[in-house]
Amino acid sequence: MSDTTVDPRYRRKPPKRPLRLSWADERVRGIVWQILVVGAIGSVIWWLWSNTVHNLEVRRIATGFGFLNREAGLPIAESLIEYDPTHTYFRALLVGVLNTLKVAVVGIVLATILGTLIGIARLSKNYLVAKLSAFYVEVIRDLPLLLQLLFWYTILQGLPGPRQALQPIEGVFLSNRGMKMPALVWENAHTAAMVAFVAGIVLTWLYARQARAKQMADGQPRKVWPAAVALMAGLPVLTWQVMGAPWEIDWPALRGFNFRGGMNISPEYAALLIGLVTYTAGFIAEVVRAGILSVNQGQWEAAQALGLRHGSVLRLIVMPQALRVIIPPMTSNYLNLTKNSSLAVAIGYQDIVSIANTTLNQTGQAIEGIAIIMAVYLSISLSISLFMNWYNAKIALVER
C-alpha cells in the first residue's frame, strides 16, 4: 500500500454534509429508526421487567443469589471435586459445571477422532466401507439425539449386575454399575511428574521452534524427536524416580453391594458420552468429507507424481489444505456438542442443567437458576469460539 498506488482524489475525505432535520436526509432517517427500534425493544423489556418484579413481590419470592450459600442437601452421584450433601448450593453448581466440562472436553476429542475417521472412510475405495459409513452418517443425523441417548442408556442398563460383572481384562469390571478400572494411588511424586511433563511439552515446543528457525536459515532439517522424547518422557520419569518412585495400584474389588476402589466410569456418563460422540461424529464426518473434496484434484495428482503414498498425501498435502475449509464448521459442531450435553438431564447424568434445575426447584429461584445455566454455557461457548477463531487465523492461508 505505497502512496503512489492511491489515486490522490481518494485521499481526501468527502466533505461532510450538514445534518438537516428532514426525512429526506438518510442520516436523520437512520437515527429515527434506531431510536424507534431501541425504544420499542427497551419498552418491551421494561414492561416484562416491571411485571416480573411485581410478580416476584406478589409471590413473595426473594431474589438474589443469597441461596448459593445455603446447604444444598442434594445428592450428586459423581463429582471431580469433593462433595457431599452438606456442602452449599454454590459447590453443587460448581460440581455441575465441572461435570459438563468433563463430558464436553472428552466428547470433543473423541468426536473429532471418530468423525475424521468416518469422513475419510466415506471416501474409501472399498465399496462396503464407503457405503457403511454413508449409512451410519445418514441414520445418526436423522434421529433426534434425545432418542439416541435414551436408547444408549437402555442398552447400557442391560449389562450384568456387579456380581456377574464381565471381566474383559484382569482388573477391569464391566457391569451395569459402570466400568471399574484399577487406578494409581495418587501421590506428590505423580503431581510432580505431571508438572515435569507439562514443562517438557513447553520445552519441546521451544526447541522445535528454534530448530525450524535454524532450518529456515541454513536449509538443513534437524531431528526434533530425540529431544521431544527426552523432554516429554525422560523428564517426568526422572522426576518420579527422584521422588521415590511410588507405584501402588488401587484394584477394584466387589465388597457388599458395589465395587470399591479403583476408578469408575458410570453408565450415565458413558451413555451420554457415546451418544454425543456418535451423533456429533456423524456431522463432523460430513464436514471432513466436504473439506477433503474441496482440495483440488491436481493436488492429489501432483503429490502422487512426487512419489508420496496415499496416506502421506492425505496427511501432508491434503489435510493441511482441507483444514481451512474444515475449521469454521467444526467450531459450530463443537459448540453444538457442548450445548447438547445439556440433554444429560434426561438420562440422569448430573451436569450443570440437571443440578441448576434441582436447585431452582428446591429454592424456587427460577430466574437465578436459569441465569446461571445461561451464563455457564455462554462462557463455555465464548471460550470455544475464541480458541477456534485463534486457531483458524493461525492456519489461514497467508496471501500476499
Binding site: 432535520l21 428532514s22 426525512w23 429526506a24 436523520v28 429515527v32 424507534l36 425504544g39 420499542a40 419498552s43 418491551v44 421494561w46 414492561w47 416491571s50 411485571n51 406478589v58 409471590r59 413473595r60 419470592i61 442437601g73 442434594l74 445428592p75 450428586i76 452421584a77 450433601p85 452438606t86 435414551l150 442408556y153 437402555t154 442398563q157 442391560g158 450384568p160 449386575g161 451395569n176 454399575r177 465388597r255 457388599g256 453391594f257 458395589n258 470399591r260 453408565p267 450415565e268 438431564v345 434426561a346 438420562i347 440422569g348 448430573q350 440437571s354 434445575n357 434441582t358 431452582l360 426447584n361 428446591q362 424456587g364 427460577a366
Partner: protein, 350 residues
C-alpha cells in the same frame, strides 16, 4: 414546513403511539374484586376447570390407550368439575412436571393442582398455596430385590440407590442417610419410567420413593415376590390437591368435595345405592345429598353436588378401589378412621 419534514413528524407520532400501546397492558391490570371467588367466576366464564396433573404416574394420573385421562388425582379434578358443572368432562388436564407444577399454579395456568404433591410448611406459605386436604397418606420407603437378602434399610450401607430429583424424596433420602450414618451412591433420574427401569435392570440396588409408588411398581412385575419393600418408612408424605392462596371460596369448594367423598363412604353411600339415598331416613344422608340444608349453596354450587359426584365417580373408597387397588396399593393408612381405624376422617358435613 416542507412536505417531507411534516411526514417525519407524523411518523414519529405514530411510532410513539405504537410504543405506548406496547406498554399499555401494564396499566390495565386491576386487582381482583373481593367477596366472590374470582377463580370460580373465571372457571364458569370459561366453561371448564383446568387441572394440573402428573405427566404420567400409574394409578394417579395417566392417559389410557384412547387418550382419556384416568387415575386417583384425575378423579378429584373430575369431582370438582362435576360440582361446578355437573359434567365430569368439563375439565382440561394440563400435564405438569415436578419442576413446573408450582409455576403453573402460581401463574394461573391451572386452577388447581391435583398432582401427588406433598403438603409442607414452605409450600403452604412462601410459595403462596393452600392445601385443601390430604386425600392420600404416604411415606417414603425403599424397595430392593429379594435376591439381595436385605431385610432392613439399615443394611443399605454402600448401596446404589435410585431416586428422582427435585422432589422432597431426594432431600428425605439425604437427611435419612446422614441421620443413620449410611453412605450411599445416588443415581438421580428425572423421568419416573427411566428411574424404574434403572432399578429393574439392576443399575441400583434399591429404589426409593413413596411407598404407594413402590407398591405400584412391585405389583406389575412378573413375579412381585422378587421385590421386597423394606419396613422402614423414612418420611411423612401427606398428598393432596392445592389451590392458590387468597381465594378461600374456591379452596373451600375443593376441600369439601374431598370431605364429601369421605362422608359418603362413612355413610356407606355408593354410586350403586345413591339412587335410593332419598329414601334414607338418616339426617346425615339427607344433608349430604342436599335434600335438607343449604350446604351446596353455601359453597356456591348446586345443592345436590355430592349426588352428582358420587353417582358418577363413587365415594372415596370406590375411587380408591378403582384406581389404586388394581396397581397393588392397599388402603392401609388411608382407611376410614370411623370404621377401620385409618387416617381418613371428614369433619361433620353440616
Amino acid at each position: 414546513m416542507t412536505q417531507t419534514s411534516r411526514s417525519t413528524f407524523l411518523r414519529a407520532i405514530g411510532a410513539a403511539l405504537i410504543a405506548g400501546a406496547v406498554s399499555a397492558p401494564a396499566l390495565a391490570q386491576q386487582p381482583a374484586a373481593g367477596g366472590s371467588s374470582p377463580t370460580v367466576d373465571a372457571i364458569r366464564a370459561r366453561g371448564t376447570l383446568i387441572c394440573g396433573v402428573n405427566t404420567g404416574l400409574a394409578g394417579f394420573a395417566q392417559p389410557d390407550s384412547q387418550g382419556v385421562w384416568r387415575g386417583f388425582d384425575v378423579d378429584y379434578c373430575r369431582a370438582v368439575a362435576i360440582a361446578l358443572f355437573n359434567d365430569p368432562d368439563k375439565v382440561r388436564f394440563v400435564p405438569t412436571t415436578a419442576q413446573n407444577r408450582f409455576t403453573a399454579l402460581q401463574s394461573g395456568e391451572v386452577d388447581m393442582l391435583s398432582r401427588n404433591t406433598t403438603w409442607t410448611l414452605s409450600r403452604d406459605t412462601s410459595l403462596g398455596f393452600d392445601f385443601t386436604g390430604i386425600n392420600f397418606y404416604d411415606g417414603q420407603g425403599f424397595m430392593v430385590k429379594a435376591s439381595l437378602g436385605v431385610r432392613s434399610a439399615r443394611e443399605l450401607n454402600g448401596a446404589t440407590i435410585c431416586v428422582q430429583p427435585g422432589t422432597t424424596t431426594e432431600q428425605n433420602l439425604t437427611d435419612w442417610a446422614r441421620a443413620s450414618r449410611i453412605q450411599f451412591q445416588p443415581v438421580v433420574i428425572e423421568r419416573l419410567e427411566e428411574v424404574v427401569n434403572a432399578y429393574l435392570s439392576g443399575r441400583c440396588d434399591a429404589y426409593t420413593t413413596d411407598v404407594s409408588g413402590l407398591a405400584a411398581t412391585r405389583a406389575v412385575q412378573a413375579r412381585p415376590a422378587d421385590h421386597v419393600i423394606l419396613p422402614e418408612v423414612i418420611s411423612k408424605e401427606p398428598l393432596g390437591p392445592l389451590v392458590r392462596h387468597g381465594d378461600q371460596r374456591f379452596a373451600d369448594l375443593v376441600r369439601w368435595v374431598h370431605f364429601g367423598l369421605i362422608t359418603a363412604e362413612e355413610l356407606a353411600i355408593t354410586s350403586q345405592n345413591i339412587g335410593q339415598a332419598a329414601n334414607d331416613a338418616r339426617p346425615d344422608v339427607q344433608r349430604l345429598i342436599g335434600r335438607s340444608g343449604d350446604l351446596g349453596r353455601m359453597l356456591g354450587v348446586d345443592n345436590a353436588f355430592m349426588v352428582n359426584i358420587v353417582s358418577r365417580l363413587g365415594n372415596y373408597g370406590q375411587i380408591f378401589e378403582r384406581n389404586l387397588v388394581p396397581i397393588g396399593i392397599q388402603r392401609g393408612p388411608n382407611a376410614l378412621w370411623t370404621t377401620a381405624g385409618g387416617l381418613q376422617y371428614a369433619p361433620p358435613f353440616r
